[in-house]
Amino acid sequence: MAKEMMLSGCASSAQAAKMAKVEVISSYPIRPYTAIMMELSKMVANGELDAEFVHGEGEHGQLSIVLGAAAAGARALTGSSGVGVTYAFENYSPIAGGRIPLQMMIADRALDPPGDFGSEHTDAMSCRDQGWLMGWAETPQEAFDNCLINYRVGEDHRVLLPQFVCQDGYFVSHIPGPVSLPEQSQVDEFLPPYNLPHPLDPKRPVSHGPQIRPDQGTIMDIQRAQAMLDAPAVIREAIDDYNRIFGRKYAPFVEEYMTDDAEIAFFLMGAHTMTARHAVRHLRAKGVKIGLVKLRFVRPWPTEEVAQALSKFKAVGVVETSTSYGGAMRGGNLLHEVRASLYELPQRPLTTSFMAGLGGEMVSLEDFYHMTEVLSKAVREGKTKKTVYWVGFEAED
């Protein structure tokens, strides 16, 4: 039977990696993801997990180590946070383009300057267009589940893509929450052994990554893009199986909360969704017609699901926890994609972005109430005043 425990996101992620029977792990210390590796190193030291634990010489080395391991035929895991995520950047395209389905767990963190250890999505979001699956967990339970779901989808031969499995630093990574740990037999039923089509094996010689001519480049890009196009069907299958085997109720791409008859909604992902849920519940009790939509995958971006979910509202507040300096919306990254998703709809909701939770700041209930006022006003006036609100830093809305 499943075991109920209180675990932080880092601890639950390590448990998931153990149950996924990862074979090569590469580490390098940076807060807050470090705790995942601390847990795993104990498991390896105790003999609970039969894996090679390699101390990387930096995040670039970490990604290189798991690239080699996964290309040789071993299930591989690494992870990082903040500037560690960006230090490894060179490797992201070769790994995705080489179609090596390794996993990187990111407990996110603000980028420098100045040194700030708080949570922010910008580190991982800066890497979102390289051909990796990517999504955030709201709870330690979801962090656990996303590890297994992402290995299954990424390793599927119809997809073969690496995975950024993200959680908010501290809010998820370090605050314990209830986690239901399944039986190993359930995990084994869900996740087949790692099976790369063309591993590096002297018995079957193969060359990985020869140079190409410029005119050969597009076709490879099309294949990588196609893998992303093919991924949603595989994600749906995996989520169906996951819900069946583990008794969960995940929606594959967008989860709706109290959206029946809602006129306004928050759109967000990750840890702050939990506070938003409470805010929505309290506001509902006061008669405000509000709901929320939670995003589970940033890549592949679920265009139709987002459009469908948001089309029924009059106004949507996109809660951004990342920056896109100089971007079209002048704020974060998500509103770009939300607006693009809504563009083809005959009737679009009003949308605006709320810059909140940057640098690891709390997004409080009061903040969500304030955002609600902005959205309600937009509905009354039939327009949004701005595309971006820096929550807590606006003189007058």
Binding site: A51, I65, V66, G73, S207
Partner: protein, 323 residues
């Protein structure tokens, strides 16, 4: 962590006619006529045999070999970034350890060989190379040294000799000697600071049997090993492509290149001239040194004199300071 699985014992060859006929680095690649690195690749691949995985960090031996979806490799090969040959090799080694331990792969532990240029070894690739040596992975790191970033159009690297004319160190009225720095010493870098390493050697394409035997010796060691192989580059150095081997031999005869093994703390020297020829004889064959004045040559000669007289004590044998 895991017990060593390697049991192979690649036998030394006595004479060039005993060298295996089988090729694992096949003809048809796109290297320049007279390419020193290509010649050493062929010899290394012969020495290692079929149970081998090559890693190719970006450089001439990537771009000119595995070009346009072709491959000259009859054994598994993978491109790595110029930065990370040592780290990717570490991951492959770790994977084989666990896969063999779990019975997911069978047979002999493979020879894992990083074939990196000088930049991919001791410049941008230094961190990953050093980490592989430090962690004790069972892999061979080869620095095939053509003394420049040749693939990108002959720019200076840390192993370009003093006085070298490269496209980033052109001689001019303000900087008449071209390159003003003295080179890094790759094998001493490895020997000096990596206790897991038990075998390091230098080799040259001028002496193929010695090269093959050093490769085999390195591959028989369980743990990280390092070879520094001198590979003249006709295009980069500016000499007749028929003279690659002659230039390589002159480097040894003048003391510009030194042949030795470091075997678990003990030095052994090979092809050490009784009397060194003047470096000028080596320089005069190469356009990259054509601009040097007598004063520059004297400076280079003094550097070589100090180097070849150095006692074989690893830490103290560091390169003398420039100027």
């Amino acid at each position: 962590m895991a017990a060593a699985i390697k049991t192979q014992n690649l036998a030394p060859v006595k004479l060039i006619r005993n060298v295996p006929k089988e090729e694992y680095y096949l003809p048809g690649h796109r290297t320049c006529a007279g390419c020193g690195p290509a010649l050493q690749y062929k010899l290394v691949a012969k020495a290692a045999g079929p149970n081998t995985i090559f890693l190719g960090p970006t450089g001439c031996m990537y771009v000119a070999n595995a070009s346009y979806l072709c491959t000259p490799y009859a054994v598994p090969w993978m491109h790595t970034q110029i930065t990370n040959g040592g780290a990717v090799a570490s991951g492959i080694e770790a994977a084989y350890k666990v896969l063999l331990r779990k019975g997911k792969r069978e047979g002999e532990f493979p020879n894992i060989i990083v074939m990196a240029g000088d930049g991919g070894s001791v410049d941008i690739g230094l961190q990953a190379m050093s980490a592989m040596m430090y962690r004790g992975h069972d892999a061979l790191f080869i620095c095939y040294d053509n003394e420049a970033y040749a693939n990108t159009g002959i720019q200076t690297s840390p192993t370009t000799p003093y006085g070298g004319n490269t496209t980033f160190t052109p001689p001019g009225s303000a900087i008449p000697e071209g390159k003003t720095l003295f080179p890094k010493d790759p094998p001493q870098l490895v020997i000096g600071a990596h206790p897991a390493v038990k075998y390091v050697a230098t080799a040259s394409i001028a002496y193929p049997v010695d090269l093959i035997n050093k490769v085999r010796k390195a591959l028989n060691v369980v743990g990280p090993t390092f070879l520094h192989i001198h590979c003249p580059c006709p295009k980069g150095w500016g000499f007749d492509e028929a003279k690659t081997v002659e230039v390589a031999r002159l480097a040894i005869e003048t003391g510009m290149w030194n042949m030795y093994e470091w075997d678990n703390g003990e030095y052994r020297y090979q092809f050490k001239p009784k009397k060194y020829k003047p470096v000028r004889e080596y320089l005069k064959l190469q356009n990259r040194f054509a601009h040097l004045s007598d004063a520059h040559i004297a400076k280079l000669q003094a550097f070589v004199d100090a180097k070849v007289k150095a006692k074989p004590v690893p830490v103290e044998a560091a390169v003398p300071k420039a100027n």
